[in-house]
Amino acid sequence: MPGAQRAPFDRALLLVVPAAAFMLLLFIYPFLYGLALSFNPKEGGAMANYAHFFTTDNLWPTIWTTLRLAIPATIINVGLALPIAFKMRVKSRYQRFATTLLVVPITLGTVLIAEGMLTYFGPKGWLSQFLQFTHLYDGSIRLTHNYWGVLISLVISGFPFAFLLILSYITGIDPVLARAASTLGADPRSQFRHIYFPLLLPGLAMCFCLSFVQAFSVFPSAVLLGRRRARRA
């Protein structure tokens, strides 16, 4: 509130001191320490480590592969979550059921999803057997141990997160605004374009960043689903 009186200090705020101290000691201090170390290489000037990182060829393929996975996965997750969450913004019994269903993958860890996918999407998996049985697609399907396997796993694990985040942003927008817009002549498309979308934009940006960070740290999926499993003797 403009011109509101400054609130007096609330002693209950002291309760965050232990948590803040914990963060400071175990996260912020080591992080800053590491950052400082990175500017003090054993040899060369202050930027030598960074110069080395960005000029060494064998690091680029790794960065490139990660981006090639993380960016499409983020776009798919946010792009799917937005229309679905928008459709579900009105509270109903159906909404609660669908939300629960969509959120289930969040409760599974990466490893569980990976194992499940190997059974379902693998060369002898249910999907490929079903497609071949119904003759919908007779060619050989390879959806695991490659790029697609990792991407699918990123969508399965990342989508619920993006969906929940966007749903909470959308339900935070007063539906009366859209009704007001409709009385002023805005059809549903214009209501979305002029009311919902601009109000959602900060939330979407936040969701995009978080989804991206989540997808960027895909090492477990990459190892389990991207690489051929070593033959067991």
């Binding site: 007063d174 009704r179 007001a180 817009a181 009385t183 002023l184 002549g185 009311i195």
Partner: protein
């Protein structure tokens, strides 16, 4: 949508909702009303009476379960809200928080594809009308509640709608601002000459603003009449209670001649005017505190003896509770200095005693 019309006709407008246990209940039941061009109509009633449902049905924000709505010869209840083009003012203002005041007001014009230069002119005119010139670049969050409500009004009227709908527009404002904004709404209505449907639970707002009041209860219209009629001649006991007839006494019918009825109790004998046909031996008597007076009336008719049990000083007068020997409580607005515990007489003119049947 054409901007002028002669009348808006609601024909048996009904809206049912699925209630508890799968039973449908009618939030609005058979509302039939014709609104003339330029008329100010107030839908008045307690919460849950169906007045907001009626407004949402007119706006197109709610589907009808039954009945129809006509703008002259055009049936409009099948049109979505954006095709009806009625301006609506919401209780919580519903201003777009990410748009400046000018953008908010110009939104309806933009949706209609009006040229930017014309939007600017019309927005400036609307701002002047609601006395907010100079605030156009502020965001709604930077304005006070009263200013936000005036932006909402400007936004609804700048599209020059045939009908302006207002849903309790003053209920979020404090008492002083409410009276100011009320006068403002009346002035704007007079200047523009647009038809207005105004929903409120506040009888003072309805009385001061409306040309006609529609009193509702449980989804059913109780009375449609000019404010002075609703105030002085409530059609039934519900309307009477709602319009401030705080003294409602159950008495036995002694004699009837025409509309004049005499009713009695152990220590009360009143003659009043019948408002509805009476049946059975008993009737309700309704009287306003401000129409009862302390002291003897002319002759002994309509004089009741009692004892002052409570006095609330209200400045101009006092609200006095008088209790008769048999325990009937009467609220009286009295001038002077009523003395607590003293024995007094209360009298009331015959034409201000309204008599209603038992339900």
């Amino acid at each position: 949508m054409k901007h002028d019309f002669n009348e808006l006709r609601l024909d048996g407008v009904t809206r049912r909702f699925a209630g508890a246990g799968g039973h449908a209940f009618a939030a609005l039941n058979g509302l039939t009303l014709t609104i003339q061009r330029g008329e100010f109509i107030a839908l008045l009633g307690p919460s849950g009476c169906g007045k907001s449902t009626a407004l949402n049905c007119i706006a197109g924000l709610m589907q009808l379960s039954d009945g129809s709505i006509w703008l002259d010869q055009t049936r409009i209840d099948t049109l979505p809200p954006e095709k009806r083009g009625f301006g609506m003012v919401f209780q919580n203002y519903a201003l777009f928080p990410h748009m400046s005041v000018a953008k908010n007001i110009g939104f309806g014009l933009k949706m209609r594809g009006v040229a930017d230069s014309e939007i600017a002119t019309r927005v400036a005119h609307a701002l002047k009308l609601v006395q907010l010139t100079g605030q156009e670049h502020k965001l709604p969050g930077q304005l006070s509640g009263g200013q936000q409500q005036r932006v909402a009004i400007a936004r609804a009227i700048v599209i020059e709608p045939p009908l302006v709908l207002m849903d309790e527009p003053l209920s979020n404002l404090d008492a002083k601002l409410r009276i100011e904004t009320r006068a403002e709404i009346r002035r704007i209505h007079r200047e523009l000459g647009r038809s207005t449907v105004y929903v409120t639970h506040d009888q003072d707002e309805a009385l001061s603003l409306a040309d006609r009041i529609v009193v509702m209860k449980d989804g059913v219209v109780q009375q449609i009449a000019a404010p002075s009629d609703v105030y002085a001649q409530p059609a039934n006991l519900h309307v009477a209670r709602f319009m401030g007839y705080r003294n409602v006494v159950d008495l036995a019918i002694e004699a009837q001649s025409g509309d004049r009825v005499t009713v009695t109790g152990p220590d009360i004998r009143l003659t009043g005017m019948r408002k509805q046909p009476l049946a059975g031996g008993r009737a309700f008597v309704a009287m306003r505190p401000e129409e009862l007076a302390l002291g003897e009336g002319p002759g002994a008719t309509n004089t009741i003896a009692g004892r002052i049990e409570n006095v609330e000083y209200c400045g101009r007068d006092s609200l006095v509770d008088v209790v008769t020997a048999s325990g009937t409580l009467l609220h009286v607005r009295a001038t002077g200095t009523p003395v607590l515990g003293s024995m007094v007489s209360v009298h009331v003119p015959v034409e201000r005693v309204l008599i209603y049947p038992h339900e």
